[in-house]
Each structure stands twice: as structure tokens, then as C-alpha cells.
């Protein structure tokens, strides 16, 4: 039972990472990025190609990948979304669908559909703890996920609370227009949010790749679970995203081990629906009043 929960937490931490990226982009730019998973997928492919075809060291490739991801986020936001920013939200969503289709097509075109193996970032035997509570098995991979999530959460917290740029990010997400009047460069903040978000997608791609293998649809399920986690957390706060992901991971693991594995997607859909009915603002959201 404890092991199940631990496994769930590890999955959930991945969902949290996905959700953090999504929430960052959504909070600042107001766009739900549906191309998120495919952006991560594409960068992962790139890193796989750099390491196994070109033969560059894995960690250098990862750094290059993250830089590429950031650039991709910035350019999609700058050239695809900003021109129609003040026209309609629907159109911006549609642009992300277009990006999704293009990236999927490109990946298939360049690298084909067969699954590629991605090297483990961290290897070693699982840590085993024995005690009067039973036996706990902790995989190194899980450890990596937890460490990444904790680091990023804490950094994000410090960043948004104590740095000038972090405060600017919060200001823009609160009210873009007023933030602009206060001398904040809104464009830079928008670019940053997308660079950060897509880098998170890439990170999720690297961490999950050894398990799910590199393929054009590798992150689709993570993306949906990330959405679910974000809905669960209320879409407005990073805290919500982190805990939403963790809760979702545990619940999903329990369903998987006690009911059936075939209904994972149906299950997360059910969660979305239940949350939307009972807690329309998510578990951690607050009610907003809007002016017209």
C-alpha cells in the first residue's frame, strides 16, 4: 500500500511538473497550450538524435535541448500568438492546435513512428528501506522526479516572491494592461512564460522518456493528466498545480491496482467532470470577479 502510494506520488510528481508549465503559460499569457506535450516530445526527439546519432554527451544535449525548447516557446508565442493576442482567445487556442499538428507531423516525417530507447538519466539499484512499517522500495528514477519537483517548486516560489522579474511576472498575470503602465515590459514576461513552460515540457520529456520510450505520442497522456492536475488544482496557482498532480497520481495508481488499467483516460475524464461539478474553481482556486 505504501509502495503503491509512493509509485503514485512519483507519477503524480510528473503530472505536477506538466501542470506547473501549463499553469505558468496560462497564468501569464491566458492561453491553454495544447501543443505542450508535442513540444516536449519534439525536444526529446532532438536530444535523442543528438546523443545517439550525432554522439554528443547526454548532459550537454540536454542543456542544448532545454535552450532549444526555450527558443521554440519564445518564437511560437512571439510570431504565432502575439499578433492575435487582442483579437480572440479561441484563435490563440487554434494556433496551438496547429503547432501540435505540425510538430507531430515533423516528428513522424523526420524520425518515423517506431519507438526509440532513451538513456536513463540516473541508474542504480533501488533504495530499499526496511522497518516495522514494512518494506519500502524507492527507485532512483522516483528520487530524481521528487528532487526535480521540489527544486523547481522552491525555486519558483523564491523567484516569484523575491526577485524583481518574478514580481513582474505575477503583476502581468494579474493585469497585463496595468502592469504595462507600471513600466513592466509585458512582451518579455510573455516570452519568459513560454520559454519556461516549454522547457518544463522538455524536462518532463527527458525524465519520462526512458519509461515510455521516444515516440510521436509519448507525452499525450502526460499532457491530459497535466490538464487534469491543473483543473484539480484550480488553474490559477502553482501550489494547486503541484498538489493537484500529486493527488491525481496517487488516485490513479489506486484505481489502476484495485480496478483495472484500461480505464486510465476515462478515469481522469471522470475526475475532471466531478471536479468541475463540485469545485468549479478547483481544490485550491479562489473565486474571481471580472469586469466587462
Amino acid at each position: 500500500m505504501i509502495n503503491q502510494i509512493l509509485l503514485g506520488l512519483s507519477n503524480g510528481a510528473m503530472y505536477s511538473l506538466v501542470a506547473i508549465g501549463l499553469v505558468m503559460m496560462y497564468k501569464v499569457s491566458g492561453v491553454m497550450n495544447f501543443a505542450y506535450g508535442n513540444m516536449g516530445m519534439f525536444v526529446t526527439y532532438l536530444v535523442w538524435w543528438l546523443t545517439s546519432v550525432i554522439g554528443i554527451n547526454l548532459y550537454i544535449s540536454i542543456v542544448l535541448g532545454i535552450i532549444f525548447a526555450a527558443l521554440m516557446g519564445i518564437s511560437v508565442e512571439r510570431f504565432g500568438l502575439r499578433p492575435i493576442r487582442h483579437l480572440s482567445h479561441g484563435s490563440m487556442l487554434i494556433v496551438t492546435f496547429g503547432v501540435l499538428m505540425i510538430l507531430e507531423g515533423l516528428a513522424v516525417q523526420i524520425w518515423g513512428t517506431e519507438y526509440k530507447a532513451f538513456p536513463e538519466l540516473i541508474t542504480g539499484t533501488p533504495l530499499v528501506f526496511k522497518g516495522d512499517f514494512g518494506i519500502i522500495v524507492l527507485r532512483r528514477q522516483d528520487l530524481l522526479v521528487f528532487v526535480t519537483l521540489t527544486t523547481i517548486s522552491i525555486l519558483l516560489l523564491l523567484f516569484t516572491k523575491y526577485t524583481k522579474f518574478g514580481i513582474a511576472v505575477r503583476a502581468v498575470s494579474e493585469n497585463e494592461e496595468v502592469a504595462g503602465y507600471m513600466g513592466i515590459n509585458v512582451g518579455t514576461v510573455l516570452s519568459f512564460s513560454w520559454a519556461f513552460g516549454v522547457s518544463m515540457a522538455a524536462l518532463v520529456g527527458f525524465i519520462s522518456a526512458p519509461k515510455v520510450f521516444v515516440s510521436p505520442l509519448m507525452l499525450l497522456f502526460y499532457q491530459i493528466q497535466g490538464f487534469t492536475a491543473a483543473v484539480l488544482g484550480g488553474f490559477e496557482t502553482f501550489t494547486g498545480a503541484v498538489f493537484g498532480g500529486l493527488i491525481l497520481g496517487v488516485l490513479e495508481k489506486l484505481v489502476e491496482s484495485y480496478i483495472s488499467e484500461g480505464f486510465k483516460a476515462s478515469f481522469s475524464l471522470a475526475i475532471i467532470i466531478v471536479v468541475l461539478i463540485l469545485f468549479p474553481k478547483g481544490l485550491f482556486g479562489k473565486t474571481l470577479r471580472r469586469r466587462v
Partner: protein, 565 residues
């Protein structure tokens, strides 16, 4: 008419089964994205699970017809209804909130449906899908499939058009523009969004059922997220918030593979690029360009066909060419009727039917209008001379002159020149005494009327809001199509350059100015000014009547004419 052409199309192509099948698929995708267009284009909600509803429709109708031998049509309808129910189920929670929740829920839905149908392999055949779906036919299965698709498409199109042009459609568009404002003006956003979503899903259900029978093969993966995005792209490329857009989008979608079949380029890239390009640079989609083309060029064909060709009255020769007129009644008092802009003598037909017996009426087509001859460089004064010669040739000594709108301005010009011949001047919503200003931009638009019969008919109808015999408008429109394009500009310019304020004081006959208070061209103060300019001018304001009291309240007009005659 276009539907009849579409229906005969397969019989022309009967040798070419492949093209008929492609056309059927175009119809299927047009149907599905018509539903999506209602959800996205009209109600402004983004759904990316549309293929899931196709899937539901496809499996329902297939299983019904394979296991229980239900007729195909009923199976498809059942599939649509089931999709409708699922639409309610998914839409209910997601649509209570605004924004992207529907997109997320539908994304989950499409993946869940794919997994779920794949998991139920003893009923649905699992991930491998169902093959060899039978289609009972009478003479030619491809043609019949096509006609079945077309029938569903036609009914859905008509339904959708009824919805969009009704109160429901207005509510959808209000929600799309601003949900909060819509709810303030009394639209229940949740209810209308749900209706749009469920209705759109139902169309997808139909499309799915038809797809199964057209292709004879379905699998869960056919209706995945990719197909949903394709449908979305069809909708956007064709043109959101248009009912004909899905057709163009579906044609592009079906035609693209043929163009790129040699280049080995993944279609998903091509389609995604087109999608982004359309959103950024031509957000109104193909249908906008097509409708502009129609407006500028294609409607001219209809205009040519509709143009009136058979004169219905008599001709009289003047130095301004032949004048066409109709005569009615044989009373002792002659009355000359002058019609307004874009009208003709026919405009007075209902009016003449109620003519009191003391009158003999002469309704003329002004030169450039109806069947009278063309006249270049027209002014209001010139028209007054035409009227003068007309009455001379008819040998009328004294008469009542009635002018409506443009005719009213001409009647004023006539009264100023030849006041002694008038018994009485009746101005029905006339051009004001000091001219009617028409901006240049307006003239350009008016010139478009020449090639757009629908616009003329609509503007005539707007100017007679309480009169509803559409046949009369049709007839007047066919006359109006005879107006030369140059004359439209000249008449509008003539209307803004005259001013009879000073000379009007010499007109010593009774002048009745009649004004309908729902007039959308003229306003009350202009009419007050006009009536005050004549020494014996009186203003009658008719309540709840538009620009054309002649059509809308003829008995009141006669009553006013008969007073102190």
C-alpha cells in the same frame, strides 16, 4: 438550386465510383464540421473531441444495423441521438464555466472513448475495428450512399440555418462575443452553450454513422484526437461562423492528399501550417472570400436572370424618350404618381387597387427606371420637365401630384415650376426640401445593388416594414435591376444638390406632407422643415408606419388626399 445540382452530380459521374465516394466523404466531413462550426463559430466554445461523437455515431449505427438489422437511416439517426445525449453529459459540467474547460474535457473525452471502445472488444471488435459493414442498396451502392449523405447534409444544413437565424442563434453569438454581457441581457449562457454543443455533437453523430456506411470500415483509432483536430482545421479553414464554410474546408481536406501524394510530406504538417496561416492572415476563412466573390460577380448572373423583360403598361413618346406608365380608374380627378428610388410604377399596384372612384391615376416609370428610356446627366429639375411633358402629352389640365421619396423631390421641383397646374401636392416621405445628403461611400454601396437582387429586395422590405407581400417586392426588384449603374450614382448626386426652400413660398396650392414615424431614411425634423416651407403645407405623421405609407397605410393616404380636395 445548388442542392439540386449536387443531387444530380452522381448520375453524371456514375461511371466513376471513386469520385463519388470522395464526394460522399466530403459530405460526411462537411456535416461533422458543420456541427463543430456551430459549437466554435457561433457559440464560441472550443471542442477538440468532435471525432469522439463521430465514433459514437459510427459504432451505434453499425452495431444496430449489423446485429439487429435496423435500416441504415434509422441507425444513423439513433447514432446522432446518442451523440446528442453524450454531448449533454460532457457539456453540462464543462460549459457551466467559461473558457477552455470544454476543450480540456473534450480532449479527455476523445482519448477516453478511443480507449473504451478499444477495450470492449467482444462487442466492438476492439482496436482492430469492424470491417465489411453492409449497405443494402437498390441499384447502385455508391450513388445511394452519396444521396443518403446529401439528404442528411441538407436536413442538417436547413436545421442549422433555422437555428442560427433565430433567437437561439443570436443568443449563441451574444455568448461568443461576451458571456457576461450576454447573461446581463437575459441570455442563459449555460443553457444555450449546452444546446449548441449537443446539437453540434448530434451532427457529428450523424456524420460518424454515415462515415461507417460509406467506407465500410471503422476502428477506434479512426476517430482519435488527430481526426478531431482535422475537423477543427476544416472548420477554421472553411470559415468559422459560416454555414457554407465547412463545405469548402471539407473539399480542401479531401483534395489535399492528391496534391501532396507525390511529395512524401506528412499531411499533418501541411494541414497544421495552413491552419496557423488561416488563423493569422485570413481569419474569416475561405467562405468570406467566396461570399465576397459572389457579392461582386456571381450574383450578377442571378441579377441578369431576374431582370424584368416584359412591359406591363403603355408607352408615351416625349422628347426625353419613351415613358412607360400604367393608368387606372376613370374618375374625374387625374392623379399623377411618382415612385421613389429603386422602385417603379409597379410599386403603386396595391395602392391603385384601393383607388377611390373619383380618381384616374397615372403611375409612370421615371426615365432610367423600369421600362422608360435611359436619360443621361439627370437632375431633379430635369425629371420635373419630364413630368411636365408627360402630363402635356396626356392632355391633363389640372391634376393632383403625388410623389414618394425621390418622386417627392421631383414633385416639389414640379410644383415650384408649374404651381398653377396643381390641384394639390401630396408628398409621401419625400426627399427633404433642401436636398437629401448621400455620402460617396453610400453611393458606392448603392451601386452594388445593381448586381445583388437580394440587397434591393431587402432594402425595399426594410423601407416598408409592415407590408409583407413578398411577391410585390420581387416584381419591383426585377424592375429595379433595369436601372443602369451610372444612373444610380447620378440620381443619388441629384438628390443631394437641390434646394427649393426659397421658391417653395410661391406654391399656393395645398401641400400634404405624409411621414411614417418608423422611417429609417428620413427624420421628423426634415419633414417639419419641408412642410413649413410651403405656405399651405401640413404635416401628417402616421404612427407605426415606415418609409412607404403608400404600401403600408394606403387608406390613410387616400383619406389625407381626399380632405379639402
Amino acid at each position: 438550386m445548388i442542392w439540386i445540382i449536387l443531387a444530380t452530380l452522381p448520375f453524371i459521374l456514375i461511371k466513376n465510383a471513386f469520385i463519388i465516394t470522395i464526394l460522399s466523404l466530403v459530405g460526411v466531413y462537411a456535416l461533422a464540421s458543420l456541427g463543430l462550426n456551430i459549437i466554435m463559430g457561433y457559440a464560441g466554445q472550443i471542442s477538440i473531441g468532435h471525432a469522439a461523437f463521430m465514433s459514437i455515431g459510427a459504432y451505434t449505427s453499425t452495431l444496430l444495423s449489423m446485429k439487429y438489422n435496423v435500416p441504415v437511416t434509422i441507425g444513423v439517426i439513433a447514432g446522432g441521438l446518442l451523440a446528442f445525449l453524450f454531448g449533454l453529459l460532457i457539456g453540462f459540467p464543462a460549459l457551466r464555466l467559461s473558457g477552455f474547460y470544454l476543450a480540456i474535457a473534450t480532449m479527455g473525452f476523445v482519448v477516453a472513448v478511443e480507449q473504451f471502445i478499444g477495450a470492449l472488444d467482444h462487442i466492438t471488435g476492439g482496436h482492430a475495428g469492424l470491417r465489411g459493414i453492409k449497405f443494402p442498396y437498390l441499384f447502385n451502392s455508391d450513388v445511394e450512399k452519396y444521396l443518403l449523405v446529401l439528404a442528411f447534409l441538407f436536413v442538417s444544413y436547413v436545421l442549422a440555418r433555422r437555428f442560427v437565424n433565430s433567437k437561439t442563434g443570436r443568443a449563441w453569438m451574444a455568448i461568443r462575443e461576451n458571456e457576461t454581457v450576454a447573461s446581463v441581457v437575459g441570455v442563459n449562457p449555460a443553457k444555450y452553450k449546452l444546446l449548441a454543443f449537443a446539437f453540434g455533437s448530434m451532427l457529428a453523430g450523424f456524420a460518424g454513422g454515415l462515415y461507417a456506411h460509406v467506407t465500410g470500415f471503422i476502428a477506434p483509432s479512426v476517430f482519435g484526437l488527430g481526426k478531431s483536430l482535422d475537423l477543427l482545421a476544416i472548420s477554421v479553414i472553411g470559415g468559422m461562423a459560416s454555414l457554407d464554410g465547412p463545405f469548402y474546408g471539407a473539399i480542401v481536406y479531401e483534395a489535399l492528399p492528391f496534391f501532396f501524394s507525390r511529395t512524401n510530406l506528412s499531411l499533418s504538417i501541411v494541414f497544421g501550417t495552413i491552419l496557423i496561416f488561416v488563423v493569422l492572415f485570413m481569419p474569416l476563412g475561405i467562405s468570406f472570400y467566396i461570399s465576397r466573390l459572389r457579392f461582386n460577380y456571381l450574383n450578377a448572373i442571378i441579377a441578369f436572370l431576374k431582370k424584368a423583360r416584359k412591359p406591363y403598361g403603355r408607352f408615351i413618346d416625349t422628347s426625353f424618350g419613351k415613358i412607360h406608365y400604367i393608368q387606372h380608374g376613370n374618375g374625374r380627378v387625374p392623379i399623377i404618381l411618382l415612385h421613389g428610388n429603386f422602385a417603379s410604377a409597379r410599386f403603386f399596384e396595391p395602392f391603385l387597387k384601393m383607388l377611390p372612384k373619383e380618381f384616374t391615376a397615372y403611375a409612370m416609370d421615371l426615365p432610367n427606371f423600369g421600362f422608360s428610356d435611359r436619360l443621361t446627366s439627370v437632375t431633379i429639375d430635369k425629371y420635373a420637365d419630364v413630368v411636365n411633358e408627360f402630363v402635356d402629352n396626356l392632355r391633363l389640365e389640372r391634376f393632383v401630384l403625388l410623389g414618394h421619396s425621390l418622386g417627392g423631390s421631383i414633385a416639389m421641383a414640379y410644383a415650384v415650376k408649374y404651381p398653377q397646374r396643381l390641384i394639390k401636392l401630396v408628398l409621401v416621405d419625400p426627399g427633404p426640401i433642401d436636398g437629401l445628403f448621400v455620402p460617396d461611400e453610400g453611393i458606392k454601396l448603392l451601386q452594388k445593388y445593381k448586381y445583388n437582387p437580394d440587397l434591393i429586395r431587402k432594402s425595399l422590405m426594410f423601407n416598408a416594414p409592415t407590408f409583407d407581400d413578398e411577391r410585390l417586392f420581387e416584381k419591383v426588384t426585377s424592375d429595379a435591376l433595369r436601372i443602369p449603374k451610372r444612373a444610380i450614382r447620378e440620381v443619388a448626386e441629384a438628390l443631394r444638390t437641390y434646394n427649393y426652400s426659397a421658391q417653395a413660398s410661391n406654391v399656393n396650392v395645398p401641400v400634404d406632407v405624409i411621414f411614417g414615424d418608423k422611417d429609417i431614411i428620413l427624420s421628423l425634423w426634415q419633414m417639419e422643415k419641408t412642410a413649413a416651407a410651403f405656405p399651405k403645407g401640413r404635416l401628417h405623421v402616421l404612427k407605426d408606419v415606415g418609409h412607404s405609407p403608400i404600401l403600408e397605410a394606403p387608406e390613410r393616404v387616400f383619406q389625407i388626399i381626399l380632405e379639402n380636395l
